[in-house]
């Protein structure tokens, strides 16, 4: 029984197409948009043409980039906090059905409470000089639930034979968690993170809408400002940057998912029969 060693070649061709194809669709979409807007003469207050948006983007490039950076940092921090918080809570809930039963409804309350109405409380609580912290908390609130929910399901879905095996080896809860439950729950956790990535971004933006001030100058601020001035092309430029950021985050999450699951999970494995 001798054999060439096992090797796992990457699928570079597929990876390139994964980027090129949506770009192509995007280009077609923009062209159609441009044509429709110009031929129908849609007023730019309703829907500005892509060329106008592009001009606005170039014209305000650096201020928009600064705002993008601000929003990005809040997003990333909120996302990391959401992942840590969601997974930690899910781990706690997975330890006992009773804890989960007793406290899950409260996680739901956190999810369904509109940030706009608890923003004042949080501002009082962190002090109104700590706007950034307030934004982080609010964005976290928006983003953490999908991770909690999906991770809980994932941890509960552990192959029960593998759990038995761990029990036989006298493994501690912690080891069961790290060796079996966590890797097994990975597809679920990553799916949750894919959802939460976008929600962190939207959370950072909404938080800035409801609790932002002149000191915080993220994309939300640009959108409000442009909206107030009825500079709709600039607003769309900011929205476009937001979309690009969202797709970027999604792309990164998809890549992580692919790397983590490609060797074993049905959803990522390239099947040969």
């Amino acid at each position: 029984m001798s054999e060439a060693p096992i090797q796992h070649p990457p699928d570079i061709y597929g990876q390139v197409l994964k980027v090129a194809l949506p770009l192509l669709v995007g280009a077609i979409f923009l062209i159609v948009w441009q044509i429709v807007v110009t031929t129908l003469g849609v007023p730019k207050f309703v829907l500005p043409a892509p060329t106008l948006i592009w001009q606005a983007l170039i014209g305000n490039f650096w201020s928009l980039m600064g705002s993008l950076w601000f929003t990005l940092t809040v997003t990333v921090e909120a996302f990391i906090a959401a992942v840590i918080g969601g997974v930690a809570l899910a781990v706690l809930f997975a330890q006992s059905r009773w804890i989960a039963t007793a406290f899950f409804p409260y996680a739901v309350i956190l999810q369904v409470t509109p940030v706009v109405s608890i923003a004042p409380l949080i501002i009082i609580w962190v002090g109104y000089d700590n706007v950034r912290l307030a934004l982080l908390i609010l964005a976290w609130l928006v983003a953490f639930f999908p991770i909690l929910s999906n991770t809980t399901l994932g941890l509960r879905s552990t192959d029960h034979n593998l759990r038995n095996l761990m029990q036989l080896y006298g493994a501690s809860r912690w080891r069961v968690l790290t060796e079996i439950q966590f890797p097994g729950a990975l597809p679920f956790i990553l799916a949750g993170m894919k959802i939460s990535g976008g929600l962190s971004l939207i959370g950072a933006v909404v938080a800035e809408f409801v609790a932002g001030s002149g000191a915080s100058t993220g994309l939300a601020w640009r959108i409000i400002e442009a909206g107030n001035r009825l500079d709709i092309p600039r607003m769309f430029a900011a929205l476009g940057l937001l979309s690009v950021l969202g797709i970027l985050i999604f792309g990164v999450m998809s890549l992580i998912e692919y790397l983590a699951l490609r060797h074993w999970h049905e959803s990522a494995v390239r099947r040969e029969n």
């Binding site: 029984m1 001798s2 054999e3 060693p5 096992i6 192959d159 034979n161 593998l162 038995n164 095996l165 761990m166 029990q167 036989l168 080896y169 006298g170 493994a171 080891r175 060796e179 079996i180 890797p183 097994g184 990975l186 060797h263 074993w264 999970h265 494995v269």
Partner: protein, 269 residues
Amino acid sequence: MQMFAPEAASASPHTAKPIITLNGVTKTYGNGTTALRDVDLAIGQSEFVSLLGPSGCGKSTLLRLIAGLGEISAGRIDWPQTAHTARGEPEHDIGFVFQEPTLMPWATVFDNVYLPLKLKRMSRRQAAPIIRDALTKVGLENFGKAYPRELSGGMKMRVSIARGLITRPSVLLMDEPFAALDEITRFRLNDDLLAMWAGQHWTVIFVTHSVYESVYLSDRIVVMGARPGRVTADIRIDEPYPRSEAFRLSSRYNDYCRLVSAALHETMT
């Protein structure tokens, strides 16, 4: 060559120094299926016991209960010789090869076999030669880097066997470990298992559907009857170890096989 009535099993003079005793063990699953009813059994220290019985009679259930997986509906299982941990749990050192391979799909073959050693806090480097050795024994020396989905059914089972044996447990429970293997590999692993058993004074409980295999391997064969599962025959194979191809060709081997077959037939009609 002796055959005991089931009720005499635990009183058998051959079953000296029991390491596991089952008394009136009954298992009823939540859906109402009674998998085991009133099973009495005593497994002696260092015995090699084969468990035979029709499909669905409760062999796997029995093995799991012995291992402490799942709750017993009635009766009790004791480990009279086993120390207990501070938390009151028996501190036995069990190896279990499940009926299904039960591998971690996200881990390579190497990492799957490494798992028990990892849990004993052995470093990867320390474990590597041991694992390589175990993989060579089951003919998978080139597949350490493969993932379970890249293996054939029999190869997966062999990984599971390698994992079950790697800690050299003092009590080994095996649930049809060789069913998916070709005869040649099976025979080789049979002999390997026997050699390890003889060298280490293990206690083995071995579920199989092969009468031949059970006679070749064990010094005692327990035959179970169909649902609700119970012990219907308890046959001692009084043959010296080490056993070899010569035993397989002997007429006594054939006689034993016929005897076990007959017991199996009886239990199913």
